[in-house]
Structures are given as structure tokens and as C-alpha cells.
């Protein structure tokens, strides 16, 4: 037996109408294969980065449970075929990492850490963190040069 972290992406419309029923889809399968729940709750409801099964929004249901390897294989197979579960990810929880106390959307670093230079600002290291440069700024052209270009373009056309 080992501890697993299961994240289940549920149909948002269905979850909004009947959260208990939608949650029971997952819980029922977990119980059927003898998984012992440790911690479980709704994690978040958010816009998806890309559409999955024509859904643009999804509700994430996070579940920490104790189960055997064989059970996880069966759980994965059954839930993949379950309607209402858009996607699932079950990962073995590392032994050295402490289990979270409650289900919440948590950031690894706070804004204070960011201010202290852990992300951006000071302390960027030798090479620095360069984010995406984005579009190139429009080049500044003198009026004289612009007029010349216009003349050439006018002549050629």
C-alpha cells in the first residue's frame, strides 16, 4: 500500500448542478477498489488552458488516498471510461514530502518571497531571468527617410 495523489477534472456544468453526485462518481470507484481516503475536497474551478471534450471550464477534485498498485490500475481504467470525468492524473506521493493539512490552492512562494528576489527583481543570478521579449518595438524612422522610402515605393508601383 502506498499513498497516491489523485487529481480528477470533472465536468464543470455537472458539478455546479450536483456536486455531491459528481463527486460520488470518483469516490464510488475509489471505494470499490479498496482505496482508503486520507484527504479529499474540491480543489478549484477554473478556465482550462485548452478545451477538453468541448469543455472550456472544469472543476478539479483532489484526492489523497492509500491504495495498492493493482487497485490504482483499475481505478485509472474505470475512471477513464466514466462520463463526467474529463481527465485524471494519479501520482505516487513522495515519501519524503509531507502531506498537506487541507485541500487548497496553495502557492509554493508567497508575494513576500517574490519581493525578496526569489522571483524577479533583485537577486536574479548571474544571467538573470529574461521573460518572453514579446513583439519588437516599432523602429523609429526619421521623416526624411520615410519620405525617401515613400518616393521609391511610389516610383516602383
Amino acid at each position: 500500500m502506498a499513498i497516491y495523489e489523485g487529481m480528477f477534472l470533472l465536468d464543470s456544468g455537472r458539478a455546479a448542478k450536483d456536486w455531491e453526485g459528481t463527486k460520488a462518481l470518483v469516490d464510488g470507484v475509489l471505494e470499490r477498489y479498496g482505496a482508503k481516503p486520507i484527504l479529499r475536497d474540491r480543489w478549484d474551478e477554473r478556465k482550462l488552458a485548452y478545451t477538453i471534450k468541448r469543455q472550456k471550464r472544469g472543476t478539479y477534485y483532489l484526492n489523497y488516498f492509500d491504495a495498492s498498485g493493482d487497485a490504482v490500475t483499475n481505478i485509472r481504467r474505470d475512471l477513464t471510461l466514466t462520463e463526467g470525468v474529463l481527465r485524471l492524473l494519479i501520482l505516487a506521493w513522495p515519501d519524503d514530502a509531507p502531506l498537506p493539512e487541507k485541500i487548497e490552492v496553495k502557492r509554493m512562494m508567497t508575494d513576500d518571497d517574490a519581493k525578496a528576489g526569489l522571483f524577479g527583481g533583485e537577486g536574479r543570478g548571474r544571467f538573470g531571468d529574461r521573460s518572453d521579449f514579446g513583439d519588437r518595438a516599432p523602429e523609429e524612422v526619421s521623416e526624411e527617410f520615410a519620405a525617401k522610402v515613400a518616393d521609391v515605393d511610389g516610383g516602383s508601383s
Binding site: 485548452y50 501520482l91 514530502a97 502557492r107 526569489l118 548571474r126 544571467f127 529574461r130
Partner: protein
């Protein structure tokens, strides 16, 4: 003279370049897409070690985390 030569060829090693080591984060949470996206370009590509400053261990963890986050639609594979 020998001392001078040693100094000349002494490699520059920046201490504490990895932000996860500095913050003493042992396990990179793949659910924290906001933090992961800070180490990616606007297009959704991961930063290299040179660019992010991560140590080898945390860069491997970061790589895995981004892939999990993409699979669960927390992060895009390719942003528009």
C-alpha cells in the same frame, strides 16, 4: 606564481543561484501553475537551466511538473 595561476583559472561559482534551493523547497508542486509559468516563456516553453538558474535536481522536478500541469490543462502546451 602558482597562486596567480590558480586564481586565474578559478571557476566562478555563484552560490544559491537556484531559487528553489534558496526557498528550501524540496518538492515542486505541479499544481502551482502560476509559479511554473514564471519559469516559462509567454509561448509556454520552459526556460533552460541557464536562463532559470535552477539546479539540476530542481530543473528535473520542474520539467516533470510542467508536463503534469499541461496534461491537466493548468498550463497550455502552446500559448497563442
Amino acid at each position: 606564481m602558482a597562486e596567480k595561476t590558480d586564481k586565474k583559472f578559478k571557476r566562478y561559482v555563484a552560490k544559491g543561484r537556484c531559487r528553489f534551493c534558496r526557498a528550501k523547497i524540496g518538492y515542486i508542486d505541479w499544481k502551482d501553475a502560476q509559479t511554473l509559468s514564471k519559469l516559462s516563456t509567454g509561448q509556454g516553453k520552459m526556460f533552460s537551466r541557464k536562463r532559470s538558474g535552477n539546479c539540476a535536481r530542481h530543473q528535473r522536478q520542474f520539467k516533470r511538473s510542467v508536463k503534469y500541469a499541461r496534461f491537466m490543462a493548468l498550463m497550455p502546451y502552446v500559448a497563442k
